[in-house]
Amino acid sequence: MSGKILTEKGISFIEWQKRIKKGKVSSQEIVQYYLKQIKKKNQQTNAFLTINQKALREAQKADREISKSKSADLFLKKPLLGLPIAIKDNFCTQGLPTTAASKILENYLPPYDATVIQRLKKAGAIILGKTNMDAWAHGSSTETSDFGPTHNPYDLERAPGGSSGGSAAAVAAAMAPAAIGSETAGSIRQPAAWCGVVGFKPTYGRVSRYGLIAMASSLDCPGPITQNVKDAILLYNILSGPDPKDATTIKEKPVLINYKKPLPKNLKIGLSQKYLKLANKEVAQKILEAAKVLEKKGAKIREVSLLDPKISIAVYTILQRAEVSSNLARYDGLRYGRNRSYFGLEAKRRIMLGTFVLSAGYFDQYYLKAQKARTKIIKDFKQAFKKVDLIIGPTSPTVALKIGEWEKNPMFGETQDVLVEPNSLAGLPGISINCGYNKEGLPVGLQIFGPQKSEELILRLADQLEQWQK
């Protein structure tokens, strides 16, 4: 280990919830604690871009509400009352700077809250601050941020992964009890894996994108980054569900997940050699160990045949760049105060490639072909899930890499996220949980993913596995 370590075993979201309910701690005490943590660690991690200056005042208000209320229902209505949470800086927060880590939006104050923020606020949560990310979520290391990279609390010389690197680092360093991230293909799960925390990406359309600054609209999905699976369940239950403001949300209401419910017996779990081979040895080894734990607990581990995940790199790159080039057109220099020369290198590269693949004469060859391949990938998973209930595998091919690796490879993100791109393209839900550490003490992430709308099974298995691994 070369860099300094700033990780810390924190108090879980659910634990804080219990304590505040019982009156053992006040919201102000919790918020003060985290503000202190941030003050102590943010200079070295650069996990937060903005601190909510009103957080303490809001905590005061929450405490008043708790002390005044005689109703036992208060915490049923507001399960997160008084609990602080960190938000990735691409979710619009009314009156709180929202930059997507780009200089273009450096001074942008949104006039409205994203649906995710509205739901958190309605549940009583307090926004602690906005976390660093790859600019416009373009990247897998948080190094493309226009405001400097975030450093991995496990080793400050390493990247936290990305694009939700600030959120993952904040949770790993106990600078926030939980955080919200967003994923297009890997941006929640990969930084969670590299920072040794839990990252959950629900089915596409399960959580509203309204107010999430778009990266690739047909793939973007908000989700929680937490210390454990139970915290992820708590947040998922609050965030998920249809939103009349997002036409792509799934119309049916999701089931409220109860982790106390026992897992079904004879669970069939798939493992693909193609995925394992893309991971380095120490990562693959940890995944096989976790598979053994599952087997011991009664699950059936089956080899599943899946399309080579490398196919997805091309498909994902084309579709994502196409959507990016269009989504970034609104930053046209007339609005938001900064012109297009303020776009970073990565954004410029993506705009150019996306513009190219959508151009007349190339559209059929690239965009349409990629769409057809996407349909094939969706079918491939449908076939696979006829034989198994869920699939496990490595989240990332490696443990956290050194800061600077990104600059050497213009396709850095795409190759880093090769193991989550196929299931992201298919809109599938998936989680990354920690499954141990390599020799250097760096965390290894294991992903569990399932068919569309299988959040309940994924989260319950992940919760169990987390317990069994202890």
Binding site: N90, F91, G211, E323, S325, D332, F363
Partner: protein, 442 residues
């Protein structure tokens, strides 16, 4: 020598829909005369993170027009992004339809019996309004986003039109239809209906489409449309006669000087980089609407009304066309015809009175009109040949009075007049009757 050329004209007609809310957000769509930027939200301002949710009523109205124009409905339709930069376009793209518009391959029959094919009907969002002003001596542009996101239908014709008059007739027919369907008032002065014409000339009738076209944008009256096309045909004809090439370009129309003028060259084809809008799921039409019952709920269309008037009321084609020009006149005529039936007044006469404007339909209700017609008929005096035959009859029946008159009894004439009045139920033209009697009794 000057050659005549054959004009090839196609029209693109934009119609703003008067739905309650905008195309993709819940802001009011009634924007005319409102305080600038008073009807906006993150969605129609294109703010980061905002998402479009399509207005079902606007889709329904578009389908309505598509069905009325006999279009095929794309059962799997969707929205596409049309990417281009313009200050009035806050997202840098317009949500429109390109790959699968709601309606394709329709047609409309003009009163001249000319059939104009409709290439497609699609639905999109309107842009913001640019207002150019001078402030402290500086030219500045203001943007009003009240118009941003208003539902806009685009009706694209095939290049089937061959003259300025025909283009005008076509535009008016679409206008009439839109109003008949009550999907918009299509008020040209308010910009609710905007016309664009594509014009080119070919040497021989059977030539393929010319290799260029000139687009005249933003025409806001039928008269200007005709004038602009006429001007453009002349201009192009002169150039072609000088063996000059006509560049592909967009022109505007200056209605004061009755001239078109170049706005921008369109040498290169536009690169809009259309792709399916990922923020809106595809429109599965059968899940959203029952097309058959939509079709059944279509009101009678002008063409159908003409045929019905000819069959049902025995009007001439000429009469039927005039009566059906607006729905107001048509429904007035039908009410009057029904009221007239009871009083034995012919539909044909009613039609003529309406067409010749002998009685004002604005001042009279249909039953009042019928009463007026009857009164008039009753008041009409008997004279001429009819009177002559009555007089003949009266003279034969009263030989004694003839003798009296000839003996010099002048009140015998009064008696005979009285008899004529009796025969005509008092409607005889007295002066004429006196004259005729005197002549007969000479």
């Amino acid at each position: 020598m000057t050659n005549k050329f054959y004009p090839v004209i196609g029209l693109e007609i934009h119609v703003e829909l008067e739905t309650r809310s905008k195309m993709f957000c819940s802001c009011s769509a009634k924007h005319f005369g409102k305080e600038p930027n008073s009807q906006t939200c993150p969605v129609c301002l294109g703010l980061p993170g905002a998402l479009p949710v399509p207005n079902k009523e606007a889709i329904k109205r578009t389908l309505f027009l598509a069905l009325a124009l006999g279009c095929q409905i794309n059962k799997n339709s969707w929205f596409d992004r049309k990417n281009y930069f313009y200050p009035d376009l806050p997202k840098g793209y317009q949500i429109s339809q390109f790959f699968k518009p709601l309606g394709v391959n329709g047609k409309i029959i003009l009163q001249s019996n000319k059939v104009v094919k409709i290439h497609e009907i699609h639905l999109e969002e309107d842009t913001a309004k640019s207002i150019h002003r001078k402030v402290n001596g500086k030219e500045v542009t203001f943007l009003d986003f009240n118009k941003s996101g208003i539902p806009l239908i685009e009706v694209v014709s095939e290049p089937d039109l061959t003259s300025a008059q025909e283009a005008k007739d076509y535009a008016q027919a679409i206008h009439q239809l839109v109003r008949r369907l009550k999907i918009s008032h299509a008020d040209m002065e308010k910009g609710q209906m905007r016309l664009e014409a594509n014009i080119s000339l070919k040497k021989y009738l059977n030539d393929p489409l010319p290799p260029y076209k000139v687009e005249i944008k933003n025409i806001n009256s039928f008269k200007f449309l005709k004038d602009a096309i006429d001007y453009e045909i002349n201009r192009q004809q002169k150039l072609l006669n000088q063996e000059k090439q006509i560049p592909q370009e967009t022109r505007g129309y200056d209605s004061k000087n009755k001239k078109t003028f170049i706005q921008r060259s369109k040498e290169k084809a536009y690169e809009y980089r259309y792709f399916p809008e990922p923020d809106i799921p595809p429109l599965v039409i059968d899940k959203l609407f029952d097309i058959e019952s939509l079709k059944k709920s279509l009101p009678e269309l002008p063409e159908q009304a003409i045929n019905r008037l000819i069959n049902q009321y025995h009007l001439s084609l000429y009469q039927a066309k005039i009566i059906t020009k607006t729905h107001k006149v048509l429904s007035y005529f039908e009410k009057a015809a029904r009221a007239g039936q009871k009083q034995k007044i012919k539909a044909n006469d009613i039609a003529n009175i309406i067409i010749n404007k002998k009685l004002s339909i604005n001042k009279l209700s249909p039953p009042q009109l019928i009463n007026k017609i009857r009164e008039r008929e009753e008041q009409a005096l008997v004279g001429g040949a009819k009177l002559r035959s009555v007089i003949k009859k009266v003279l034969i029946a009263n030989p004694k009075a003839i003798g009296d008159y000839k003996k010099g009894k002048t009140n015998a004439l009064a008696f005979l007049i009285g008899q004529v009045q009796k025969e005509t139920k008092g409607k005889a033209d007295i002066k004429q009757a006196q004259k005729m009697l005197r002549e007969k009794l000479k």
